[in-house]
Symmetry: C2
Subunit: 201 residues, 2 copies
């Protein structure tokens, strides 16, 4: 099992370098749980799926708390057959019910929004269960979950738009990534999270 | 058949609004070929797969030519079973050889880098052929194509890093999106294109 993310922070300001570095520094709290590597395009995180999403949340909040228009773009991946097993990725949270009919209920039961960040955010996510039939049903179940926990804003072509406190959105993203395909499946989740867009004023 | 993209431009400057609007204005040249819709997170393009990628190229170049650090993030999708057929998406370019063994050669033959933009770019892309077995072989063929046309920089976890003139990279992305799965398949391609990152100085 291999699990992780490539993510980028885009602060729309002349002072983007310190804003990005603030987001990367927030990852230091996860240095025992996640491996990381940064280049000019993105930062790689490798580790358990739930921990990776929480690290993304903290990184986004650290950068976005400085104000202005800030976007995070990320690709999360687990179970890619092209990646070697890695012990750092062991994820006890990946316990998926055997019966697909229970996916939404199970995800709602595990959803833990935690403490709000105070950041009013918009997001859009796409879930890609790869390597088999039935991916549309899994995507549909994930959308039902997003509606059930109150973060679903509206459908867009190719993705679902979400709205809410940034921490609550990441809590919903964590469950979306983990709960809608078997533990050993190859699953990708693509996300964009934004605060401070002038289009909303 | 439904085909299109959701894309966002991230100019890392206090003057990000006019820079984004310059990229959106470049789409006016495609107003008869593509439908579009912009909200606070992204701009939707709907139309033939090849035209969509060329519009992304022109939009990125229009914004990036202003200088500074500019990133485009996009999700391209075709053949999603959840979308209705749309006549505007008719794409004669989608003629895929029946024999998988010919995929790389066919894509190299169709690759047309066109005139260079003069912008030295870095990119990373991920191809997701959905809804069936054998997706890893298709991804592998796409990587072989990227190497054959000289834009492949190196592997990263979850994506491939590309390097070259921005126009040449988009020409390679066009073939990557179109040529590695059947015409009616559900295919997603995720991309990040960047110029001017201070990490490269």
């Amino acid at each position: 099992m291999f699990s992780g993310a490539q993510f980028s922070l885009y602060p729309m300001t002349d002072e983007f370098v310190p804003a990005i570095l603030r987001g990367v520094a927030a990852l230091d709290a996860y240095k025992d749980a996640l491996r990381r590597d940064t280049d000019d395009l993105s930062t790689l995180l490798v580790g358990p799926s739930d921990t990776v999403v929480r690290a993304l949340r903290d990184s986004f909040i650290a950068t976005a708390s400085g104000g202005g228009h800030v976007v995070m773009s990320a690709t999360l991946s687990r179970g890619c057959p092209g990646e070697s097993d890695d012990p750092i990725c062991a994820a006890p949270a990946l316990i998926i019910p055997a019966d697909d009919a229970d996916l939404v209920t199970a995800a709602v039961g595990r959803f833990d929004p935690g403490a709000p960040s105070g950041l009013d955010a918009r997001a859009q996510i796409s879930l890609y269960p790869l390597g088999g039939e039935g991916h549309m049903a899994r995507i549909g179940a994930c959308i039902d979950f997003l509606k059930a926990v109150g973060v679903y804003d509206k459908p867009k072509h190719f993705c679902s738009k979400l709205r809410g406190d940034a921490s609550v959105l990441f809590a919903a993203i964590e469950r979306s990534f983990i709960d809608f395909a078997p533990a050993q499946a190859h699953v990708v989740l693509s996300l964009t999270v934004s605060v401070g867009s002038p289009s909303l004023r």
